[in-house]
Amino acid sequence: MNPWVWVVAAYACAALVLGGYALWVRRRLREAEASQEVEG
Amino acid sequence: MRALRRVWTLAAKDLRVEGRSLEALVPSGSFGLLVVLVLGLTQGTEPDRAPAVLWVALALAAVLLVERTTEREGEEGTLEALLLYPGSREDLFWGRWLALVVLLLALGLVMGAAQVVLFGVRLGLGWPQLVATGLLAACGLAAVGVLLSALMVNVRGGHLLMPLLLLPTGLPVLLAGIRLTEAALTSGAPGPWIGVLVVFDALFLLVGPPLFAAVVEG
């Protein structure tokens, strides 16, 4: 099999895991900040 | 001196409760024997497999033992009651630790005897090393066990997490136990394994009591 398949798979895993987590944290941060402004 | 007496009283209390009912030793011992039986049946019973089978079964049974004693503490609110008494929190750790060491040794004795019978193990001259291994392993596992059980008392679903935390943490003890038992049965060199057990024990007996105190206070 083409070695680039494995390389791309590894980088895709990294992007999914780390990017997904970063996006999840950012979204919840926005929600938390928004609800704090409402309360404030 | 007073602290020592407190520790002894607490350990004797735990052992008396267990001695009356045997409700932790009997289920965990039976489960351990079942694991030995199943592994022996599926993996073969050549004597050189006995150490690994013995220690895997012991580790699983020890998890059950710690779980059951934890559950009992929780059901009866023992820990809360004990916390009302004056004295250092660390004595509570040492009392439970001493009791758990005795229970683990009893478990090991039963399972070891089963190995001799089921796997045709010949003890020979290696028994002092086996006793030392058992003692050191029990001391270390009990320290981790008491600490984790203090965490899991009255925690919903805690008994499910106990194996997930106790088995990886106790992995060095498991590996050292297997190699030392092999060495004792074949009169081989113990290598670095006694050192592994000593370091493990020293580490968890050192950090165990303060962490335990921090958990039960908080």
Binding site: V17, Q36 | L151, T169, V215
Partner: protein, 213 residues
Amino acid sequence: MLRAFLGGATAGLVLLGLALALWWSPPDAYQGQYVRIMYVHVPSALAAYVAAAVTCASGALYLWRRQLRYDHVAQAGAELTVLFSGLTLLSGMLWGRPVWGVWWAWDARLVTTAVLFLLYVGCVLVRGLSDDPERGRSLASVVGVVGFLDVPLVHYSVVWFRTLHQPPSIGPSGVTIAPALLVPLLVNSLAYLALVGYLLVERARLARLEAAQ
């Protein structure tokens, strides 16, 4: 201000690392293009251990001082340890399969990383179990501290358990690294460390905001 700078620097380092890893780096003499997986694998392992160390230190500080800000960092650190050690295992498998022909080798570093992963999964899970959040925080802190202290012991006992019994398992250890491969590795390590730092700060801030609600 500081957060924006950290975010920008992290993004820049990650992009630079990617360019070096996927384009600038030559293929390795033995491993060919597969060596590019190393630029994910090794830095994420480094990041996982750094995150675990942070979890241990802040967990201990929380148990000692009982200030919430330490716990927020410990919570972030535990999640990041799971994340990066999981990624280390995944990328290790994707590297091992084409190069060694196996998904998994019983190499001591792999086993240690797997144990680290499992212990910190436990650490993340344990926080939510207790009805009392205060107690949940203590539980997670203790598990974080105990887990990290246990790691060196697990590592050496696995090394000795394997090597004293049978030939050492295959691994990339014997290969010395050429400078052309070392530069991308270092830049990527730096990028992952920055990423851990950035995610740690953001996740801890999220924990603080959610605790305040």
